[in-house]
Subunit: 320 residues, 3 copies
């Protein structure tokens, strides 16, 4: 794998404690397992979440420079269930084009006694930049450019763990636009950390650049070959604006080559699980019958997403 230019080292303090969550590359396995454990404990036997008073005295700000109602809602709900005050900073009218103005805004919000910042930004590495320059607060990366989406990967790991506890022996297939997917990048790092040795990336040739970056994953442009006997199928959302770039003429053709259908699902192991970060494009990257079948754990992923975000907030709050 090529050197990643964006380093996550500031997320650990000198004693190795997690003080920000920026990415999963370089996060020790023990810490990753710790997050999964804590999240598990937030779920009761029916898979429901209890409220916690862990952040009773804290304030969390959601800073979404890229619009994403859905992901913002999950962080908002996680913060509320932790009893934190939550503030959604409206960035629609903000002309924070220069990093300087952005940092002024961040310093100002910190001075307003915000303890934790959830940041989504189209610029890879931006949450890292903020974490490096704004002391005394916790930064939670909610997706930066094509770089990382660590809470999504953590909830994916929790979801896999609930069905397939033994990571080492798993065959995991990731299907879709690997090149541009921060979800895929974070998932690959997490899977490697947890000891998965059979990671398969299934994508059109034009979206396989990741192959050059990885030495322990295999790339497939033939979906049928890639799915053979795997335990976990992680379907990525097709970003329509990437289609042209990837020389995909239309959604129909994408579905024919890379849509997960019932037939294709049969190529995987009988008890394989199907995952998707949502929202799903039915009939594009996944067939409706597969999305709704017993092997699909897509909605369970959503609930796990709240648990993971609550857990990460609790850890950062404790270490701050």
């Amino acid at each position: 794998m090529k050197q990643n230019l964006i380093s996550n080292h500031v997320q650990l303090d000198e004693s190795g404690k997690l003080i920000h969550l920026l990415g999963l590359e370089g996060l020790p396995k023990s810490q990753l397992l710790d997050i999964l454990d804590k999240a598990s404990n937030l779920l009761d036997n029916n898979g429901n979440l209890k409220k916690s008073k862990a952040l009773d005295d804290m304030s969390v700000a959601n800073l979404f420079f890229e619009p994403s109602t859905r992901t913002r809602n999950t962080f908002e709900i996680a913060a509320m269930r932790n009893s934190a005050n939550v503030i959604n900073v409206d960035l629609a009218n903000s002309a924070l084009k220069k990093n300087e103005a952005l940092m002024d805004t961040m310093h100002t919000l910190k001075a307003m006694q915000i303890d934790m910042f959830v940041i989504r930004h189209k610029q890879s590495g931006l949450p890292h930049h903020v974490a490096q320059h704004l002391k005394g607060v916790s930064i939670l990366n909610a997706g930066d450019g094509t770089n990382a989406h660590p809470t999504q990967a953590l909830l994916d790991m929790l979801s896999i763990h609930q069905h397939k506890p033994n990571f080492k022996d798993l065959s995991v297939a990731i299907v879709g636009d690997i090149t541009h997917s921060r979800v895929a990048h974070s998932d690959i790092h997490a899977l490697k950390t947890l000891g998965v040795t059979d990671i398969r990336l299934i994508a059109p040739k034009a979206l396989q650049h990741e192959s050059e970056r990885c030495d322990t994953v295999r790339c497939f442009s033939d979906m049928d070959l890639g799915l053979k006997d795997c335990d976990v199928i992680m379907v990525l959302r097709l970003q329509k604006e990437r289609m042209l770039e990837a020389e995909i003429p239309n959604e129909q053709e994408y579905f024919e080559n890379y849509g997960l259908t019932s037939e294709r699902l049969k190529l995987a192991k009988k008890d394989a699980i199907v995952m998707h970060p949502g929202p799903i494009n039915r009939g594009v990257e996944i067939d409706s019958t597969v999305a709704d079948c017993d092997q699909s754990i897509i909605l369970q992923q959503v609930t796990n997403g709240i648990a993971i975000r609550m857990a990460v907030m609790q850890i950062l709050a404790k270490n701050s």
Copy 2:
């Protein structure tokens, strides 16, 4: 009355308990009175509302597909006064054109541990569709198309009850665009359930289609005749976009024929009360002096609206 194609039967479970609030047609009188009772008890002697811990452990999502800051605020305030977590789902950018995508969003929000959904949608019957297909949550209809607006009608009944406890003997006039008004439809159902036998609908001929649907109400196009000796006057808001359709040339002409003036108010009983769902168009459907006179209970309706919504949420939370 013609068969209503949208059925509210799913709002009661097999044992007859209220598990959603979709509409007032078919809601047993005992349940309707129960809601009014519970709401009354939330008001102190000065007509003020206390906070409650009833929904302390629950999360409510506001889903307003039609913009209505005002009604959304009432549900938000009611949920907060019940100590619930409240989340306003931003639907401005959501391309939920297909019901399929909408249901995926609903399932996702449920997986995020939302317990109760407040839904406003321009499509009649949409909250019913959701209630039928999304198990384990409570649906509160905040207005669907031209079909129903049950909490508005409930607050109207509570407001009438505070001044005229004996429903049976009342003469109630509803003035305005009855045809397209979900408020009027729900009010008529509630009034009938409570035993009101003299319901009068006052509207231009073009807006009297409701007459065909009702056999126990009388229609008037002459406002003076309709108001004669009535106890309650419910003025509807003029939806300006409906004017053309109703062959109303302009607001001035509407006011001349159907605006509630001091003179016209004198045709009703001396102690008649004046109601309006708000926001009022002064000088269009109601004269300023009438809106602000002692017989007007318009602001009391607003406070009752919070009490009713709190009460409904408490009942649904208990029955869920």
Copy 3:
């Protein structure tokens, strides 16, 4: 100073208690000091804020008719830290062009059991109009036209007091568009009330109309002269839309004549403090090195802003 046509007298009840905060003109010194005291007590030794239960049973509505995410956030955070319910009323789509419709909205929100209204409006005197006509609620002026911004001035006074406790002996320079600045107007009233006798206004000739209104302040168009030996420098934000009006050809020229640079800062006393209401335009009204230097207390002002707003809310809640 010319007669101010907008009177703040309704902010005190007959017994002289503060029941609204509309402006600082006419606010007795004892009351002003009382607010500063209460705010001071909300800050711990490290300058951090604790949460309070003071408004546990109350609801606060933010009504921002002018967009200002930043100031709205400070009031939202202050209300939340006081344990109040907070509701942001979305006014983007509201057609409240007539005062009549605005007052109907206010009465409606009051009937929804809102106890306190934070109002920002481009029309000078609007919060005063509301306070006069809406009984039984508290009005907090968050900036009205070019008239007043009392919480900003209060936080400025608290910030000065933390560094220079003896107001009487201070020389205070205010730099920028004094004419149109509600911040400047409120600061001048507060400084006078607190006994400051050397107030200097530094501005281009075209923006010095204030000079005619004041008899106890001195105006300077030469910045170097105005800054000489002063203790406090309050830099105003350049409103770009005012530049043409003030015959300022461009930002660069403004900076050359009125930008606060390190060189100019040396003309003030050695321990002079630098203040700015934010957000700062680096390189326009203030040089980056000055904004970030040890003499700058800009971020401390932000924290004090939360303390002041919490304190004012607590006083109004107690007196309501």
